[in-house]
């Protein structure tokens, strides 16, 4: 920025919006409603509810793994960039990791908008060729007994990772369990918060 308070990109955005509104091509109130939806309503707290329900309710877990779009809709969660959902369950020997190498495909309906790193070149380039190295960037180390399954979102299917339930959470209710489920754990680059101790014998995640 030099003499103007606005960057070139800010000027372009304002000019485009002004032209679209002036010509009656967009409703500015609709733009506000779209922003508000993704700022205040849609976010990883929705995916966390899905995961917590799956941890608590075995029948729900089976429905989620067998047909995630319908199972997620049972909780009233549906929408754009979540039209075709698949849930991927982590186990003591399988860790799932989600990426979109070609653009930024991400399960908006359950996680909201993707963070910058998810859309960045370092993540998109290395998640498929060096997934353990990427996990190390996030401070996650998997045991040698764990195989990594990377899911490159190259079509309109969107993936949600169901992390393992942390140890020491017996008797917790759904809301308390959901509070442990981080966005990163549902992408596969993190673990549920407070899950440093092995959840099952022989696993580090």
């Amino acid at each position: 920025m030099t003499h103007s308070d606005l960057s070139d990109v800010q000027v372009r955005v304002r000019a485009l919006e002004s032209a679209l509104v002036a010509g009656g091509h967009v409703d500015p109130a609709a733009l506000d409603a779209l922003v508000e939806t993704y700022e205040t309503q849609v976010g990883p707290h929705l995916g966390a509810r899905v995961v917590a329900r799956a941890w608590l309710d075995e029948a729900y877990r089976e429905r989620l793994l067998g047909g995630a779009t319908a199972a997620i809709a049972e909780l009233g969660i549906r929408g754009r960039q979540g039209e075709h959902m698949v849930a991927l369950e982590n186990t003591p020997t399988v860790h799932n990791l989600v990426v979109c190498t070609l653009c930024s495909c991400y399960p908006w309906s359950v996680l909201g908008l993707p963070p910058v790193w998810y859309k960045s070149a370092p993540y998109r380039s290395r998640a498929v060729s060096d997934p353990r190295g990427v996990l190390a960037d996030f401070g996650v180390t998997l045991g040698s007994e764990v195989s990594v399954r990377v899911w490159d979102s190259t079509a309109e299917v969107r993936y949600l990772v169901v992390p393992m339930r942390p140890a020491g959470t017996d008797g917790w209710d759904e809301a308390r369990l959901a509070s442990l489920v981080t966005r990163d754990a549902m992408i596969g680059v993190g673990v549920p918060s407070g899950a440093q101790t092995p959840s099952r014998p022989g696993s580090r995640l």
Binding site: V9, R12, V13, R14, L16, L20, G23, H25, V26, D27, A29, A30, L31, A33, L34, V35, T37, Y38, E39, R78, G79, R80, Q81, G82, E83, H84, V86, T101, L102, C103, S104, S109, G112, P115, V116, W117, S120, A121, P122, S125, R126, A127, V128, S129, P131, R132, D137, V146, S147, V148, R149, V150, W151, D152, S153, T154, A155, E156, V157, D184
Partner: protein, 203 residues
């Protein structure tokens, strides 16, 4: 197209650096870009595959120099220049229903799927100048059908405006060694979602 957007396996970008306490938007202009892309996308002059091609189809140096919302802005500017401003206006009161409905890509199948779970397949070595969702790192590779997702709009054709041309869509799993040779992780697999025209049977 073989563009800079097709990043799988490219070296040199360095480590992933997550931002602590990252906000949803970095500046108001990002909010307006997101909202304009969604509102104009509902306007009916283009589809999501045309949008993706408008974003990726630019010189590699340019693509790599832009932030993600800058890519979205550049794509939107191009779509409007090439296809016009939307004439169907998304109204504020329609937003919740439009977002809830989304844009399902599945269609009623008009033929049987050629492959079943467990089948071995090889991806084609294609290098189209247009839009494709078969990444370079997964071309000419042998994999196994992991899931049959359904019968979905085919982006390679839909991006051209020649119709949806729906095709069977599969999750195809490849070993790390198949994709990356001895540098691959023998204990990792990569699944891509691949449309049937990308695949040949391995007998």
């Amino acid at each position: 197209m073989n563009g800079a957007h097709d990043m799988g396996g490219v070296h040199g970008f360095g480590p992933v650096v997550p931002e602590v306490d990252e906000p949803i938007f970095h500046g108001e202009w990002e909010m307006r870009v997101l909202a304009m892309v969604l509102a104009c996308g509902a306007g009916g002059r283009w589809n999501i595959d045309m949008s993706r091609f408008a974003r990726e189809n630019r010189p590699p140096a340019e693509y790599l120099s832009l932030s993600y919302y800058e890519v979205w802005l550049a794509g939107l500017e191009r779509l409007i220049a090439e296809r016009g401003k939307p004439d169907r206006v998304l109204r504020a009161e329609e937003v919740p229903a439009v977002l809830a409905r989304g844009g399902p890509a599945d269609r009623e199948p008009i033929r049987e799927a050629a492959f079943a779970v467990g089948d071995r397949v090889v991806t084609k070595n294609i290098n189209p100048v247009g839009h494709t969702r078969l990444p370079r790192y997964a071309r000419g590779k042998v994999g196994v059908i992991e899931r049959v997702h359904g019968f979905h709009v085919f982006p390679d054709v839909n991006a051209t405006g020649a119709g949806e041309d729906p095709q069977w869509l599969y999750a195809v799993a490849f070993t790390g060694e198949e994709l990356w040779g001895p540098d691959g992780d023998p204990r990792s697999t990569v699944c891509i979602d691949a449309f049937e025209p990308y695949l040949d049977a391995v007998r």
